[in-house]
């Protein structure tokens, strides 16, 4: 019985752990804020913005990606989807901010996008802007216990 309980506590969850997100700093914009890339000056980044991100499986089988704010979602097959939405409605005005992570999991790696959508509606006038960044992610296999200060 004890052995069964111990085994149940150590079920491998493919997303659980610390991941290195390597984000392409060059974002694409769509919606009302989309720019015309065919004209004007252009700046293209070299390299990636790298950030450590913890991912947990939470009760109920959902996943939590510790972003700012934390993203809640699912792993279905190899498809990872997680999002967070916040906003308000006051009389005829509303605003929403949505952060969405979508990726394909392959072993200890992921490839996908991180997007942020701002939508505003004010007495019938609407405005939407989506900013999207491509990223790859690799899971760390080191134990946090190996690091001083943890």
């Amino acid at each position: 019985m004890l052995l069964f309980l111990f085994g149940a506590c150590t079920v491998f969850q493919p997303l659980d752990g610390t991941w290195l997100f390597r984000i392409d700093p060059d974002s694409t914009q769509s919606g009302d804020c989309a720019s015309d890339d065919s004209a004007g000056d252009q700046v293209e980044s070299i390299g990636t913005s790298d950030i450590w991100v913890d991912i947990y499986t939470v009760s109920g089988g959902e996943i939590a990606i510790i972003w700012d704010p934390p993203l809640l979602g699912t792993l279905t097959g190899s498809a990872v989807e997680a999002s967070y939405e916040t906003g308000y409605t006051y009389k005829k005005r509303s605003e929403t901010h949505t952060t969405t992570f979508e990726a394909t999991l392959s072993g200890g790696s992921m490839e996908g996008t991180l997007s942020s959508t701002y939508a505003e509606s004010n007495d019938g006038d609407k405005y939407t802007c989506t900013t999207k960044n491509e990223l790859t992610a690799t899971r760390a296999v080191s134990s946090p216990d190996s690091f001083a200060g943890n």
């Binding site: 700046v43 293209e44 070299i46 790696s109 690799t138 296999v141 001083a148 200060g149 943890n150």
Partner: protein, 163 residues
């Protein structure tokens, strides 16, 4: 017993917090040569067999094969204007050397800054190289022995953006 053996086999001898001593051996401004500094970096093993050396403000990724370390980090941008003007600015950090859990790390960090400009009328470029002689030792991570002390770096696993 077998679980203990598996745990020991799984242990990566390189992963952990390293204290690194760096001395400038080559710099655009010769007066900087000979300067030394000490800092910590977390060496993290990744699932694809690569390693990430986290220097807090930047992260090098690469390989450790045998005892040979080869890691790199690149940052920069390319600016281009419709009138065929183009400017590239980049910095490449390369860490090479040998590593051993008992002997420590011995190698070189090379930082190459490059500025290139291409215009309709011609082009020019400028680059500078700073080299650091690096030695390092791995810290014991028995944090239970320390009264709340923190290392110079930040804990792994906390979202931190590269500057």
């Amino acid at each position: 017993m077998s679980a203990l053996l598996l745990t020991l086999l799984a242990c990566n001898p390189y992963e952990g917090t390293w204290m690194l001593y760096a001395e400038v051996t080559k710099a655009p401004d010769p007066s900087e040569e000979g300067l030394d500094m000490v800092f910590t970096a977390d060496l993290v093993a990744m699932s694809d067999g690569s390693y990430t050396a986290d220097f807090t403000s930047f992260r090098l990724t690469g390989t450790i094969e045998g005892d040979e370390v080869n890691m790199e980090y690149v940052e920069g941008y390319t600016y281009s204007a419709p009138d065929c003007d183009e400017m590239t600015s980049s910095a490449t950090y390369s860490l090479d050397g040998t590593i051993s859990p008992t002997e420590g790390f011995d190698g070189t960090l090379k930082v190459v800054s490059l500025q290139e400009r291409k215009a309709c009328g011609g082009s020019d470029s400028d680059s500078s190289t700073t080299e650091y002689s690096m030695t390092g030792v791995k810290l014991s991570a028995n944090d239970d022995a320390h009264a709340g002390a923190q290392s110079g770096g930040q804990a792994m696993g906390q979202p931190r953006e590269v500057d």
